[in-house]
């Protein structure tokens, strides 16, 4: 697998105008074919990190790099190399699954895709065939999440950022979702996931970053985690029982 860093945070810091430090000198990288989970409770700084990678915020210090491009310097160019799936995947309820996919694919620069291409991606994420041409109005959260993932896949970006992707999904839908992430990893995508779901993080990640109060307290690889209780480790870190 290519060992190039696709996503890279270098001393990433965000201090808001009111003085709140949402992110404090956070550094990590995600290589091609790697899944990196940012684990932390609410307000830990996971979403701020994602917002900095997507150019929705400018860093106070440090840089967020996507495929070698500094997001703050050239956000539009950087966005060409990343696909994103938010925690709220309402999409456009008046569009069918295929129409949603078509719109976001074209927005992502995939102009010449055919109906069958969309159907293949929707099949890949496990959406039922009968739902392809149905409006999203009646879709469950799990179904919408699949369409959202299809949107991220169809862009064929080297990096994928997922914000709380399994929240609100039932166990079956969450497992199906993670299975697709395994496939994407196998295809060489660099995947950054923010979550507070410790068990899913351990199950899917190559590396887990534990965050609390804007700091990245620890990074553990899959191999390191095999011999550790992640839940205990996580709680110890956020309660300050283990020094960062």
């Amino acid at each position: 697998m290519d060992q190039t860093n696709i996503l890279e945070a270098q001393m990433l810091t965000k201090v808001y105008e009111d003085g709140l430090c949402a992110l404090d000198h956070v550094s990590f990288s995600v290589k091609a074919g790697e899944i990196f989970c940012l684990l932390g409770d609410n307000g830990a700084g996971k979403t701020t990190t994602i917002n900095l990678f997507l150019g929705f915020l400018n860093p106070t210090e440090g840089v967020a790099i996507i495929n070698g491009i500094d997001v703050a310097k050239d956000p539009l160019a950087a966005k060409q190399h990343v696909a994103y799936l938010s925690d709220v995947v309402m999409l456009y309820p008046n569009f069918t699954a295929r129409q949603n996919l078509d719109f976001f694919a074209r927005l992502g620069g995939r102009q010449n895709l055919k109906r069958d291409d969309y159907y293949n991606v929707l099949r890949q994420v496990g959406l039922q065939e009968k739902a392809f041409e149905q409006r999203l109005k009646g879709f469950s959260k799990g179904m919408r999440q699949k369409v959202g993932l299809a949107i991220a896949i169809v862009k064929e970006a080297p990096a994928i950022i997922l914000d709380e992707p399994t929240s609100g999904l039932d166990p079956k839908a969450a497992n199906e979702f993670l299975a697709i992430l395994h496939q994407l990893r196998a295809q060489g995508r660099a995947i950054l996931i923010s979550t507070h779901d410790i068990f899913r993080a351990k199950e899917i990640s190559d590396t887990v970053g534990i965050m609390s109060e804007g700091k990245l307290l620890a990074m553990k690889t899959r191999a390191e985690l095999e011999h550790e209780n992640l839940e205990k480790l996580y709680l110890d870190y956020i309660q300050g029982k283990v020094a960062a």
Partner: protein
């Protein structure tokens, strides 16, 4: 990129159930307003023709032009039915006299007081109430609604600039909502043609501008609500704000401006003016009676031709001088009142122009000729006709008969040749034809408000654009 976003915006609006329901409601109301208007027009024309025929019959039954009680009637105009304006408040009938002040009686609302309470469903009402609500309903969550549904972040995770996104929102909403509204409006125009409403070329141009003004008014509310949506994070808050703006614009500002204007620039009421006129007329009557008594007391009454012709000459000269005096007094009174009223109206319209609804209404009334000046333009036409009517009566009777005139006639059991007069021919009367307001004047009167609507559109369009450039996408 703009093309993709614009296409999505158009589809998103057109595919929505909200659009189907609101568009259907707006289309039905537009068509209904045209239909009701056309029916009202035909009914008004029938009433007008019937009234004219009755008047002609009563003239035809008379044998002396001095006995004639001629009435003239205001002819219904096609555009009045689309924008009622003040047309239903202004009297439709006038008792025509060769001298004296002319008044308008028998307004539509005095004949049908129920309509004065609920008013008619005209195109003006549909644009002011329905179009503006329609615009708000689609604009209030245009930006923050996308944030709430997560699509804004998803869109901006792609190579999309803020400028192209907001442009697509604004243009897409205007096209997706404005163009469909044109359809029922154009069908309404075809209804005017198909259902036999005679429209001149000028009136078609005026109608075209009226529709343009309606769409501009719609555009103001649409861009305004999109701007609010780009300034407020939560759609529930932007809906509330848009609704408050709508209430102020449609209900409070126009009514409040009249109240405020009457405080700033007071004008005497019509009743006060009428009272002064009545007092003057009563005083003049007393003086005329005294003059007549003096004339009679200074000579012996006889029935010879010389006496009657002297008496007629006295009455002519007396009428002329009293009429001149009355005209001068009434003229001064009317001019003073009109000046004060004009000033008050200028204040009222100036203040009301804070509201886009009022701006549209003023433009619409000017374009359809049903503005507040309509009554005075019509009275001028009546005055113009009164001159030719007076000349006609003078020619027919040798004098301009007035209400104080005493007619001396000799009666005998055997009818003389003079007594065996033929009945009158009403077609001899000069025809009362109202000169239509020139197109240039109509357009000039509405140009400021049309321009203001364009400026408001541009202002809110720019406001929405710049507000979105600062919008927090997270």
């Amino acid at each position: 990129m703009l093309k993709i976003l614009l296409e999505k915006e158009l589809r998103d609006i057109i595919y929505s159930t909200k659009f189907a329901i609101t568009f259907a409601a707006a289309a039905v109301l537009v068509l209904l307003s045209f239909y009701v208007g056309i029916r009202n027009y035909h009914e008004s024309v029938r009433e007008f023709e019937a009234a004219k025929a009755t008047n002609a019959a009563s003239i035809a039954a008379a044998t002396d032009w001095r006995q004639v009680q001629n009435r003239v009637f205001r002819k219904p105009q096609p555009l009045e039915v689309l924008v009622n304006g003040v047309t239903n408040d202004v009297g439709r009938t006038t008792d025509m006299r060769a001298s004296g002040e002319l008044t308008l009686i028998n307004s539509r609302f005095s004949a049908d007081p129920l309509f004065a309470v609920f008013r008619f469903l005209d195109l003006n009402f549909v644009v002011i109430i329905v179009f503006s609500l329609f615009a708000i309903l689609f604009g209030y969550d245009a930006i923050n609604g996308e944030k709430e549904s997560g699509t804004l972040k998803l869109v901006f995770s792609n190579k999309v600039s803020r400028a192209s996104f907001i442009m697509s929102k604004l243009l897409g909403s205007v096209i997706a909502l404005g163009v469909p509204l044109l359809v029922p409006l154009l069908i309404g125009c075809l209804m005017l043609l198909g259902l036999g409403v005679p429209m001149s070329g000028d009136e078609w141009i005026q109608l075209g501008l009226l529709i343009f003004a309606g769409l501009l008014s719609f555009g103001v509310f649409l861009t305004l609500s999109i701007m609010i949506s780009a300034m407020v994070t939560r759609s529930s808050v932007s809906f509330l704000l848009s609704l408050v703006v709508w209430i102020f614009s449609v209900l409070i500002v126009p009514k409040g401006s009249v109240l405020l204007a009457s405080q700033i620039a007071s004008a005497p009421s019509m009743d006060a003016i009428e009272s002064q006129k009545r007092k003057f007329t009563a005083d003049q009557m007393t003086r005329r009676m005294a003059a007549m008594q003096q004339w009679f007391s200074s000579r012996s009454v006889g029935m010879d031709t010389s006496f009657t012709s002297k008496f007629a000459a006295f009455q002519d000269s007396s009428t002329k001088s009293f009429e001149k005096e009355r005209q001068e007094f009434y003229g001064r009174l009317n001019e003073d009142w009109r000046n004060k009223k004009d000033w008050q109206e200028q204040w009222a319209f100036g203040i009301s122009r804070v509201s886009p609804t009022a701006v549209f209404q003023i433009a619409a009334m000017n374009l359809s000729g049903t503005d507040v000046g309509m009554k005075f333009r019509y009275l001028k036409e009546l005055d113009r006709y009164q001159d030719s009517y007076a000349k006609f009566i003078q020619a027919k009777t040798g004098s301009t008969a007035d209400y104080m005139r005493v007619i001396i006639r000799r009666f005998s059991t055997a009818q003389s040749d003079e007594d065996k007069q033929k009945t009158l021919n009403p077609s001899e009367l000069p025809e009362f034809v109202v000169q239509p307001r020139p197109l240039g004047s109509t357009i000039a009167a509405s140009l400021f408000d049309l321009g203001l609507l364009v400026v408001l559109n541009a202002l809110f369009f720019g406001g929405a654009f710049f507000a979105f450039l600062r919008f927090d996408l997270r």
